[in-house]
Symmetry: C2
């Protein structure tokens, strides 16, 4: 059986198999080596994630074998401001951090050998959020701010440090590029194809640092380039 | 556990999670309902597929539960001409047809409730094949012709009829559009994003005819639209 990489997160994970999506790009990259399994839940925060993680990542799945890796990508909804139009998704920072720790502990207990890769929420383009509201927003104030997202991103990075696991600081990374607001964010929060590309490249890089790469993974069945044209069936004996 | 749809085929399946690919589009379409599992093997024909099918689709996978559906998309390599540069991939028409029947029988025996969906090889743009050779081709004759692909497509349609299962006649379907040679085929054989779109739409349509659709499939965990903003945790009790 092929090893698996689970993508566990919110809408930025759920829609990652759309055009140019980072999840689809990962599945394409690992097309003969790994099954990339989509477990994205739009709108979810870490509080809700903790309620469902046992169902989402059952021990018995995959014949009980540990997945190669799990990406954990929550925070964009936790960081909704508590006094704005998406307040019901808000999780206070001092709950977000222990929640993330609990998710990491759950994974470490269940699968001690599985690589856990945290991803911080992306930066927020507040102007984009006002132009593309998800719910009625009479206040005309963005329900997410870049400053708040940054605080959750720093907490996420801290959790990774305290747990000794990998993290992609997407909030910081994206803001190193000019025009990140429009090049990487479609609606101030969700990713454009270029934004997806950054996540894909960072995930591949982090996995490689953890020893998971095309160079090290066994290929499922002989590649066409390895099949002897003068006796193809030889490759399929035994 | 989520139900699965396996995509079993050659390079047109293996690369189906690339940009705009039909496999990624299916995974996106079914993002909260089905795991779309990629089992594409570049260059493979039905003869080789039969040698590996037991390994590719193990009974024990998925806890032994039957997948919802399997797409079977072979023929483009079988149809390589026997006297041209890719002859080692060629499988004669009078072997291709029983091979496909054997693949269908294997699936019916293993999983009697699983929908089996055959897909014929696409049409061939011979000019495109000459411009994008995969191997050295001193003869300057295309290794695949549209006429040969058509014969294999008709055999595939016949197998579906004889087995009482669904088929997408991609060879015929694509040629109903003007400029199919360049709009749908990147190199005379593999699909452009528009070509991928046709496969995606046809697979969704055929699955719907077989009762597999977003309307009938259970959604994995509550949708954000179903969560009560005044008491979100209610959705996660029990």
């Amino acid at each position: 059986m092929r090893p698996k990489i689970y993508l566990f997160g919110d809408s930025i994970t759920e829609e990652s198999f759309g055009d140019g999506g980072w999840g689809a790009s990962l599945a394409h990259h690992f097309s003969r080596t790994v099954d990339v399994v989509l477990r994205g839940y739009s709108g979810y925060n870490t509080r809700w994630a903790l309620k469902v993680i046992e169902k989402v990542l059952p021990a018995a799945d995959h014949g009980g074998a540990a997945p190669l890796a799990v990406t954990v990508f929550f925070g964009a909804n936790d960081a909704c401001l508590p006094d704005r139009c998406s307040a019901f998704q808000h999780v206070p920072l001092d709950e977000y951090k222990p929640n993330l720790h609990s998710i990491v502990s759950f994974l470490k207990n269940r699968w001690p050998t599985t690589r856990i890769l945290l991803i911080t929420p992306p930066p927020i383009d507040e102007e984009g959020r006002l132009r593309h509201p998800y719910v009625e927003n009479p206040s005309n104030q963005p329900e997410r701010t870049n400053e708040a997202a940054g605080a959750y991103a720093r907490a996420c990075v801290a959790v990774a440090g305290e747990s000794g696991i990998s993290v992609i600081d997407l909030w910081t990374k994206m803001q190193q590029f000019p025009d990140w607001e429009k090049s990487f964010l479609r609606d101030g929060l969700h990713l454009t194809p270029s934004g997806n590309r950054i996540v894909f490249e960072e995930v591949v890089r982090k996995l490689m640092e953890e020893g998971v790469s095309l160079e090290t993974l066994p290929v499922d069945l002989p590649l066409i380039s390895e099949i002897d044209p003068s006796d193809p069936l030889k490759s399929f004996q035994q």
